[in-house]
C-alpha cells in the first residue's frame, strides 16, 4: 500500500477526533499497564531470585553424590568427605568468584529453661558475609567474625522464642552423624531479621569450625556454596564445574540454585498466570473498544465506501484502507503508551514508594519498576495485532458492501 493510502487512513482517523482519542487512550492505558506490570513483576522476580540465591549462599551447591535424586532435607544429612580439598579446587575454577564449605545441622538451642528447634548452618564468616543475605539481615549486634570462636547468630523469631539478646549465652545441641548427642555453648553476637518468616523462626549460624566440632565432622561439609562471577551463564558454569569435579574423581554432584528453589518457581508461575490473565483482559477491552470505533466508522462512511467501490476501487483496497486505520491507531497508541510508560516509570521510581513484603518475606523494599525492552516490544506487537484483529471484521464488512446499497445508505 503506497504512502498516499496511509495518509488517507491517518486523516480518516481524525474525522471523529474525540472517538479516536478515546480509543487511542484505551490503547495507551493498555500499553502502559502491560509494560508497567512487566517492570514491576521483573523487579519482584529479580528480588526474589536474589534472595533465593543468596539464601542458598551462592548460585551453585556442590553436594555429596548420594544427594542425587534426594530432597534438600534428605541431602542435608549427607556429608562430603575431603571438603576442604574440594572447596579449594572449586574456588580455582574460572567461573567461580568464591566457594565456601557449609554444614547443615538441626537440633535444639536452649537458654535457661527454654529450648527451641533450629536449622543450623556452619559457615566461613568472611565468605558468608559477602555471598549471602545474612550480613544484610543483621538487625542487632555484629556479624560473625572469628572463624573459630563459639559465637552464634540467631534468627529474630528464634531469638524471641528463646528470649535471647546479643551477649547472651545459649547452648546449641545436635545429633552427630554417628547418632551421639553433642552440645556447645555459644555467645549470641547477632540477631537477624530474615526475609522469609518461617526461616526467621528457625535459623541459627555458627562459624564452620565450632559447627564441625559440634557435629564431629571436621574436614567435612554438607555442601560447598559457590558464587559465580558476574555475567557468567549458570548452566554453562554448572556444566564446567561438574566436568572439573568428575575429572578430579570426587564423589559429588552440582546443583544450580533454581533446582532447589520450588518457592521461587511457584511464585514465578503464579505471577506469569496473573500477567497472562491481565493481558487477556486488557486485549479484550482494547479489541472491544477498537472494534466499536471501526464499526461506527464503517457505518458512518457507508455511502463513501459505495462511492469508492463505484469509481473502481477494489474490495481489497477498501479492506486494506480500514486495516491501515486500525494499524495506525495501534502504532500511534503504542508510541504514546511507550512515552507514557517511561514518564510514569520515572515518576514512580523517583517517588521511592515503599512496598509491602513479597510473598513469604518479612521486609519489603522500595518500588523500582524495571525497564523491560522486551515488554515494550511485546506491547507494540500485542497492541498492533489487537487493533488489526479488531479492525478485521469491520474492514471485511466494508469491503463486502454492495455498492448500489451503499450509495443509497442513509
Amino acid at each position: 500500500m503506497s504512502l498516499r493510502w496511509w495518509r488517507l487512513a491517518a486523516r480518516n482517523l481524525f474525522r471523529h477526533r474525540r472517538r479516536t482519542i478515546l480509543t487511542g487512550s484505551i490503547v495507551v492505558v493498555g500499553f502502559v499497564a502491560a509494560t508497567m506490570t512487566a517492570g514491576f513483576v521483573a523487579q519482584t522476580f529479580r528480588g526474589l531470585k536474589d534472595i533465593t540465591i543468596r539464601g542458598q549462599g551462592g548460585h551453585l551447591r556442590v553436594l555429596s553424590a548420594e544427594a542425587a535424586g534426594r530432597s534438600d532435607e534428605e541431602a542435608a544429612t549427607l556429608l562430603l568427605d575431603r571438603a576442604e580439598e574440594l572447596t579449594r579446587s572449586v574456588a580455582t575454577s574460572p567461573d567461580v568468584l568464591q566457594a565456601m564449605p557449609r554444614l547443615a545441622f538441626f537440633g535444639l538451642v536452649a537458654r535457661g529453661e527454654r529450648s527451641v528447634g533450629y536449622m543450623g548452618t556452619g559457615t566461613v564468616p568472611a565468605l558468608e558475609k559477602s555471598a549471602s543475605i545474612t550480613a544484610e539481615a543483621v538487625a542487632e549486634g555484629t556479624f560473625l567474625s572469628d572463624p573459630e570462636a563459639d559465637e552464634v547468630m540467631l534468627g529474630g523469631g528464634l531469638a524471641r522464642s528463646l528470649g535471647a539478646k546479643t551477649g547472651d549465652l545459649v547452648t546449641v545441641m545436635t545429633t552427630t552423624p554417628d547418632g551421639g548427642l553433642n552440645a556447645i555453648d555459644a555467645t549470641v553476637v547477632a540477631i537477624l531479621r530474615w526475609p522469609i518468616k518461617e526461616l526467621d523462626d528457625r535459623l541459627l549460624f555458627l562459624p564452620y569450625v565450632p559447627a564441625a566440632r559440634l557435629l564431629k565432622a571436621e574436614g567435612k561439609a554438607t555442601s560447598i556454596a559457590v558464587t559465580l562471577k558476574p555475567g557468567v551463564d549458570l548452566e554453562k558454569a554448572a556444566g564446567a564445574l561438574r566436568a572439573r569435579i568428575h575429572r578430579g574423581g570426587a564423589g559429588a554432584i552440582v546443583k544450580t540454585w533454581i533446582e532447589s528453589a520450588p518457592f521461587y518457581l511457584a511464585v514465578r508461575r503464579l505471577y506469569a498466570g496473573i500477567f497472562l490473565f491481565t493481558g487477556l483482559v486488557l486485549a479484550t477491552v482494547v479489541i472491544l473498544a477498537a472494534a466499536n470505533t471501526m464499526t461506527m466508522s464503517v457505518f458512518e462512511r457507508t455511502r463513501e465506501i459505495g462511492t469508492l467501490l463505484a469509481i473502481g476501487m477494489e474490495r481489497r483496497q477498501v479492506r486494506n484502507l480500514f486495516l491501515a486505520e486500525g494499524l495506525l491507531m495501534g502504532l500511534g497508541g503504542s508510541i504514546a503508551g511507550a512515552i507514557g510508560s517511561l514518564l510514569i516509570r520515572a515518576v514512580l521510581n523517583a517517588s521511592r514508594i515503599s512496598l509491602p513484603p513479597p510473598p513469604g518475606a518479612t521486609s519489603g523494599g522500595v518500588l523500582n519498576v524495571e525497564l523491560i525492552p522486551a515488554a515494550f516490544l511485546v506491547g507494540f506487537v500485542l497492541m498492533t495485532v489487537t487493533l488489526l484483529a479488531a479492525s478485521w471484521w469491520p474492514a471485511r464488512r466494508a469491503a463486502r458492501l454492495d455498492p448500489v446499497e451503499a450509495l443509497t445508505h442513509v
Binding site: 488517507l8 486523516r11 480518516n12 474525522r15 462511492t307 469508492l308 463505484a310 469509481i311 474490495r315 483496497q317
Partner: protein
C-alpha cells in the same frame, strides 16, 4: 463496422421484497455510441437509476446481456467489473459524494490513485481536470469549504479525470438550485464537445431532458420510447 460503446439486450432486474417480486428493469435493450449524449428519463420509480446502475456495472442483471466496447461484461467477476469501472467509466452522483478529508485536487486524484498511477501524474491530471470544470485555484480546498455547485464540479472532474469512454450521471442536478444546475449543464455540454466523452444521465429534471438530444423514456421499468431529437442543445 463500428463497435458500439455500450450494448444492452434484454436486461432485467428483479428485486425480492419479502414474498413480493418487484421488477426494477424489464428487458431493456439499447445501444450507446461513443461520444453520444443521452438521458434516461421518466418519473420517480420508473427504473432510471436501476438501469443506470446496470449499465454502469454497479449492479448485475437477473437476465440479459451487456457489452462494453464489445466485451461481454455479464459474466465478469467483481474485480473485472471494478477494473472496467475505473478505466472506462466515470460516475457523477446526485450528491457530490466527495471524501471530506481530502482536498478538491486529492478527491479528483483519488480516481487515479486507485489505478496505481504515480503521484505527480495524478496531481497534474487532477489539476487539469479541475481547470476544465472551472475550478482552477481551488485545488487545496476541502469540500466543506466549497459551495454545492463547486462540489458537484469537483465530482464531475473526478468522473472525467481518467478520460473514460462514458460518464454516467445519476440525477446530477437534483440537489442544485436552478442557476447552479444550469451552469453544471453548460459544463456537461462543454466537456462533451471538447473531450468527446459519452454522457448518459438519469433524470426527471426537464432542464436536462430538454437539452439532451437522445431521450430514453422509462415507465415501470420498461423502455417505452427512445427518441433522437434535434432540439437538444448539444
Amino acid at each position: 463496422m463500428n463497435v458500439p460503446l455500450l450494448s444492452a439486450a434484454g436486461l432485467t432486474r428483479i428485486y425480492a421484497s419479502g414474498e413480493e417480486r418487484v421488477i426494477g428493469v424489464r428487458e431493456a435493450t439499447l445501444t450507446l455510441a461513443a461520444g453520444e449524449l443521452a438521458v434516461l428519463a421518466g418519473p420517480s420509480g420508473s427504473g432510471k437509476t436501476t438501469l443506470l446502475n446496470l449499465l454502469g456495472l454497479l449492479d448485475r442483471p437477473d437476465a440479459g446481456r451487456l457489452e462494453l466496447l464489445g466485451e461481454d461484461v455479464s459474466k465478469l467477476d467483481d474485480r473485472g467489473r471494478a477494473r472496467l469501472r475505473r478505466e472506462k467509466l466515470g460516475f457523477v452522483f446526485q450528491s457530490h459524494q466527495l471524501v471530506p478529508v481530502l482536498s478538491a485536487e486529492e478527491n479528483v486524484a483519488l480516481a487515479l490513485w486507485i489505478r496505481g498511477l504515480a503521484e505527480d501524474v495524478c496531481r497534474n491530471r487532477a489539476r487539469a481536470a479541475l481547470s476544465a470544470v472551472g475550478l482552477a485555484g481551488m485545488e487545496g480546498r476541502r469540500p466543506d469549504a466549497m459551495s454545492g455547485g463547486q462540489r458537484q464540479r469537483v465530482a464531475v472532474a473526478r468522473a472525467i479525470v481518467g478520460e473514460p469512454a462514458l460518464v454516467l450521471a445519476d440525477e446530477p442536478t437534483a440537489s442544485l438550485d436552478s442557476e447552479t444546475a444550469a451552469r453544471l449543464l453548460d459544463l456537461f455540454d462543454d466537456l462533451h464537445a471538447r473531450k468527446e466523452i459519452a454522457f448518459l444521465f438519469s433524470s426527471h429534471d426537464p432542464r436536462i431532458v430538454e437539452r439532451v438530444p437522445r431521450r430514453i423514456r422509462l415507465v415501470d421499468g420498461l423502455i417505452v420510447s427512445d427518441e433522437l431529437t434535434t432540439g437538444g442543445s448539444s
